[in-house]
Amino acid sequence: MATLKTPTLGSTRKRDVASRLCAALFGGYVAASTFSMLVARLVPLPKAGATTMAILTTPILYSATILWAFSARSPSRAWLVLIAVTLLAGGLTWGLIIVRGRP
């Protein structure tokens, strides 16, 4: 992270910030939601307890994704990781729902 050029002011920089902002707000929302679903599946508690636990972790998950979006080396990297997290957590949750079912 230490070796990159200082971003110059101007349209490149504006696009950079706008992309990170979208990644933080929208990408972060989706990634944190999907990850919280995985948490709800994996926490070893009764269903209602696990769900509450997962909802109570979403503030931390969402702010972590926001921090990530602005600390990643480049906006595309920020997006890439968020999308990977979403796909991975979403896939696992979906698989667990298919295999174990839900009421």
């Binding site: 910030v17 679903m37 709800a40 009764p46 209602a48 769900t51 909802i55 979403t58 503030p59 969402y62």
Partner: protein, 535 residues
């Protein structure tokens, strides 16, 4: 995105803090006031001087409701306590036959013809119509005039912004305690930075707790998608968590209601001396009647048997089908941690002070943003519009909003009692005053705007105790001599706020005569890493 992780976090701290800052200031200010929601309501209804006698008040409330709404779907009665000495009652008409059973939302304030304040004899008290402390509570999570959902979304985003700002703030301040004990006065931006850090560190555990719990509460409304991992129907989960009361359809068989006071003492015996806070009677006068009694949560964060339901005809306790789950206990613990209903006076005052510290943290942060950029105004390439916008909003929010709340209290005392929808008129007064201070700060030169609005706020708060003494029997010197803790406390807070704003106004006035900064200002050597990276 900057040269280093810390500088990226510095950038993020600056800009989330700025963008979310004004809403966070309003949330903190109103939320802090809402710690004394009941006391403010009592202050805003000076007609209420009744001595506290819960049993008699409840009996009186039942007499009143039996006469006023004998065939209601629900009655609710609040049990008086030392924070609010009389009973508030509300009632809801029965739904039309065939209509689906109603779901009660207890947060909604029913219209004026379905609520009343009654005394121990069952007569309605002629207390003035006002929202009281509920105004501050509602504003702090839904921003009053905005549609409920939009207000909550904005508050939620601002809360997330604050969470991000707190986290990044901790990351960028490595020398935590050294900075806590550092204050360099009269050095412009540097002094504001020191003040900002001090307010933040002073009550950091509180800031973290209140921000997290506030955002977490809104998560249940705005981001509860985790429930789809375990439930295909979200209602199943929500019914489990919220335990909302459903009103069963009436049977049509008339049966007299059991004495509410008997049921009340039975409940209090079950709680081993715990007190009741609210009574809810469903289908009074019908064979299906039930009486639900909510426990007063003073000294209790979350506990078993927080509410008991009795048969409304026989008075027999109906055992709940299941114990509250760990899930609902956990979520109600988060709610009560944030709302602090459990806090006894000393703790309540401590939390009030912590909230005030948070308000000061946000205010000093917003001012710091402008102080650090003032020099750049000398550079012709730097845009003045953005700077001017931030300064205008700073004056209108930091100095202007407190003035608006003072105006609310003035309106409460000075508006004629007879005008229609007086509760709304009071709030309209407050917002008009706020709008006025916004216009004032937009048209005046900045320094004069600060002095003007801060001075007006100081004056409004300093004179409030006197306005109260002139217009109501409570709060006069004779009354205070007899020992009226609520009014003494209110007056002291009002005077303290007045003095604080007066000091701020004098401070701003002194700086009005200072020469404007130049490019060769010694301040320009503020080259510490903390201050870099933000532009």
């Amino acid at each position: 995105m900057r040269q280093s992780f810390r500088l990226s976090m510095q950038w993020l701290h600056t800009w989330t803090g700025l963008v979310a800052g004004w809403i966070i200031f309003l949330i903190f200010f109103n939320g802090t006031a809402a710690y004394f929601r009941q006391e403010i309501t009592t202050w805003m209804k000076p007609e209420i001087t009744a001595a506290i006698d819960p049993a008699k008040s409840v009996a009186g409330a039942v007499v009143f409701l039996k006469a006023k709404a004998p065939d209601a779907a629900t009655w609710t009665i609040t049990v008086p306590d030392d924070r609010y000495p009389v009973s508030d009652v509300t009632w809801q008409p029965r739904p039309k036959p065939g209509a689906p059973p109603t779901e009660e939302d207890d947060d909604e304030r029913p219209p004026a013809d379905r609520r009343a304040t009654v005394d121990a004899t069952g007569r309605p008290l002629a207390a003035r119509d006002t929202e009281g402390g509920d105004y501050f509570f509602q504003f702090h999570y839904a921003l009053h005039y905005l549609p409920q959902f939009l207000g909550m979304v904005l508050v939620w985003f601002a809360g997330l912004g604050l969470m991000v700002a707190l986290t990044t703030g901790v990351i960028i301040h490595r020398r935590f305690f050294a900075e806590f004990f550092t204050f360099r006065p009269r050095q412009g931006a540097r002094s504001w930075l020191d003040a900002h850090t001090t307010f933040a560190v002073l009550a950091l555990p509180f800031h973290l707790m209140i921000t997290y719990s506030g955002v977490a509460i809104l998560m249940f409304f705005l981001m509860p998608w985790a429930m789809f991992a375990n439930y295909s129907r979200p209602q199943t989960y929500f019914e489990m968590i919220l335990q909302r009361a459903h009103t069963p359809p009436v049977s049509g068989h008339v049966a007299p209601l059991v004495s509410v006071n008997t049921v009340l003492s039975a409940a209090e015996a079950t709680w081993n001396g715990g007190r009741a806070e609210r009574i809810r009677v469903t289908n009074p006068g019908d064979a299906t009647a039930t009486i639900k009694i909510d426990r007063h949560v003073a000294g209790l964060v979350a506990g078993r048997d927080a509410s008991l339901t009795f048969n409304g005809v026989t008075g027999v306790l109906i055992r709940p089908i299941s114990e509250p789950s760990a899930a609902s206990t956990a979520s109600s613990a988060i709610f009560s941690l944030h709302l602090a209903h459990f806090a006894r006076p000393a703790l309540r005052w401590l939390m009030f002070l912590c909230g005030a510290t948070g308000t000061a943290m946000v205010a000093s942060g917003l001012i710091l943003w402008t102080e650090k950029r003032r020099r750049k105004l000398l550079d012709p390439r730097y845009s003045r519009c953005g700077f001017r916008l931030v300064e205008t909003l700073n004056v209108a929010v930091i100095a202007g909003y407190p003035a608006a709340t003072a105006a609310l209290f003035w309106a409460n005392r000075l508006l004629p009692l007879s005008i229609a929808s007086r509760a709304n008129a009071e709030i309209l007064c407050a917002f008009s005053f706020w709008g006025l201070s916004l216009v004032w700060s937009a048209v005046r030169p900045m320094r004069q705007a600060w002095v003007g609005v801060l001075g007006a706020t100081a004056l409004l708060f300093l004179l409030l105790p006197f306005v109260n003494a002139v217009t109501s029997a409570r709060g006069t010197l004779t009354n205070l001599m007899q020992g009226d803790p609520l009014y003494i406390g209110f007056n002291l807070v009002s005077l303290t706020l007045g003095f604080m704003f007066a000091t701020a106004a004098l401070f701003a006035r002194r700086r009005m005569h200072l020469p404007p900064p130049t490019l060769a200002d010694p301040d320009s050597t503020i080259g510490q890493p903390i201050l870099e990276g933000a532009e």
